[in-house]
Symmetry: C2
């Protein structure tokens, strides 16, 4: 079965880590390929995140729809 795509964007902030531990981990890995992207380390992917509608981290992109979780950091603070 072709898996759905989930991308969890974060930047290592405490809110991000909690969200990764609980929320990214809760996603059904039998249906979703879950990719974790640290935008602080992978600055080359900030543009891709912005184009997908991500405005802050932590956030999760589920099949192209961006969901921002709590509030960690603005993308503009990472680049």
């Amino acid at each position: 079965m072709m898996k759905l795509k989930a991308v969890f964007y974060h930047a290592g902030c405490p809110v991000c880590i909690a969200a990764e531990d609980k929320l990214a981990e809760a996603i059904d890995a039998t249906r979703y390929d879950v990719e974790i992207v640290h935008l602080g380390d992978s600055k080359s992917r900030i543009k891709e995140a912005e184009e997908a509608g991500i405005k802050s981290v932590p956030a999760v992109l589920l099949e192209g729809t961006a969901f921002h979780i709590n509030f960690g950091a603005n993308l503009s603070d990472l680049s």
Copy 2:
């Protein structure tokens, strides 16, 4: 196996519906019991949500940790 507990709080707003369709649906139902609570309809549960740390909807409570998603409505606007 004892399942983990996930509660998705919303209030029927468009942001809530998108989050319910994608994010609540992505949670692994083999590991989590996912309960969906519409706080507009179930006002009696607003107090419980507030006590769990929910400040706005849509939000998901995973094993007691509150994650607010995007921004739909303040709890104070629902009561």
